[in-house]
Symmetry: C2
């Protein structure tokens, strides 16, 4: 059983009739629509769906058809940076597929939507055609309003499609990446400086673990602070190692870990690996999980 997940971000978070139409278009392709999370302030919606590679391809194409017909970036406002109507589409390997399969799917979908809609497409993350366009924030810098100028620069020629923006849909960023885990650890103190110091200690950008992004956050209503993190590769930087390191850093300030939380979905293997580490299950194989054998 081959399963790919996709988490497209669409630049519409207010008009429910548009979101309903896009959700319906996704469902009709046979994928499982797992979540639709609109944000009115961002004026942006995150769709999550998963299924067999062919169905995921069809669902992504259907979403482009639906959103490009209904979203006009010329009149779009919202707090979240965006480059296009279908702003970003990552493909994520879940089961029975490799990252290379997801990269191939990203290229295939990118070429097809560029052709079908005369839309510039950038490939990012694992699908990036060069290191300089690996990170979404670099591609998106300048946003829709700066896109026409950006596309004229040789360094920012799109991977597919024309070197001018689609008049209403801008451009899209399509790629492949590992599942992302949104993981927070709450600390038994109201000292935000402690949360910030720990975030700086554990995150990649300031010297910490390779696949961790982190910041300190105040939970004022609870009188606690939080180390709020994104784990971008749970196989190489696993949950348990992040938890243990944060706990150790907190102890150095005399601060206990009160609890941790996973926001949204988490691949089973991320939890299984943590159980195996703490229980010292050296010879454990995911084949021993009953549910994996049933699928």
């Amino acid at each position: 059983m081959a399963v790919i997940e996709s988490i497209p971000n669409v630049s519409e978070g207010r008009r429910t009739e548009v979101l309903d139409a896009c959700a319906q278009a996704i469902r009709e392709t046979g994928v499982r629509l797992l979540d639709v999370k609109p944000d009115a302030t961002h004026n942006r919606t995150v769709f999550t769906f998963a299924g067999a590679p062919d169905a995921v391809r069809a669902a992504a194409l259907a979403l482009f058809d639906c959103a490009i017909a209904r979203v006009d970036l010329r009149t779009h406002t919202g707090e979240h940076p965006r480059l296009g109507a279908v702003d970003v589409v990552p493909f994520v390997p879940i089961e029975g597929v490799t990252m290379a399969d997801c990269v191939a799917l990203a290229r295939d979908v990118g070429a097809e939507v560029a052709r079908r809609h005369d839309l510039p497409v950038f490939l990012y993350e694992e699908a990036a055609s060069s290191p300089s366009r690996r990170h979404l924030e670099d591609i998106r810098r300048g946003e829709f309003e700066g896109l026409a100028d950006k596309l004229q620069q040789p360094a920012w020629a799109p991977d597919f499609g024309p070197t001018r923006p689609h008049p209403t849909a801008g451009a899209s960023v399509i790629g492949a990446r590992m599942p992302l885990i949104a993981y927070n650890i709450n600390l038994g103190t109201d000292r935000i400086d402690v949360a910030r110091k720990i975030a700086a200690a554990v995150r990649h950008s300031s010297g910490g673990l390779r696949f961790v992004k982190a910041m300190g956050v105040n939970l004022t209503d609870r009188g606690l602070v939080q180390v709020s993190m994104n784990l971008t590769n749970f196989e190489k930087t696993p949950l348990f190692r992040v938890f243990e390191l944060v706990q150790r850093e907190a102890a150095r300030y005399g601060v206990p870990v009160v609890e941790s939380e996973i926001i949204g979905l988490v691949p089973s293997a991320a939890l299984t690996a943590s159980a195996a580490w703490y229980l010292q299950l050296d010879g454990f194989s995911d084949d021993q999980v009953l549910e994996n054998r049933l699928r």
Copy 2:
């Protein structure tokens, strides 16, 4: 999606043509045959299959048809105690079904095989009709050779079928129980007395945790000892608590835990609960596991 697992034990562990025929009969019903584990010394085979309740019912009935036609207890010898050709058949709730569903299935299959084969059937564990026949070892005491006398005692009238043994197939024990986890913890010492003391400390029968069976075992080729356990209800006596208690008891003797191991299959929820405990994931729900949402 409703899934029940069944792990029937058949009194034949040597004649592969019999085991192949029974495996084929099981597969033809549409269940997933997960494992066939013959033991020539025990002259006994453990089949593991799972699927929707109707398919599991059909597979259990097919296995009775197959084994009763081919196994003759009058000439059967082996080291493992046994009462019948199909010695014991547990039904285990895996997903989308309750223990009550498995008890109902045990009664249904028990009544049907008693009728079809004129076979005495005892219900055990969660399906037991009285506390005195809850435990398999009590029902099986006296074995096939003592069965005719046992069935004459009013206290041992079968739950279904006649009060005399089936001439070649004896009687069968059918019931419902939680998934069983075979869990071993290896200790960094060759002192078998330490393993035995820890086993005695953690097992239910001598004062330990409610759903733990344990014994000390020598791993002579590795120079280690092992606390070898069966966990009979991982929801009420979870893996992490057993591990932590064994580790604490071992530390009292200055002995480290080298590793632990799960033999065979384990339900995903047993590992997820351990990850959630160690990571202090207080608000975690199994709905957050991506694969659970896909099924």
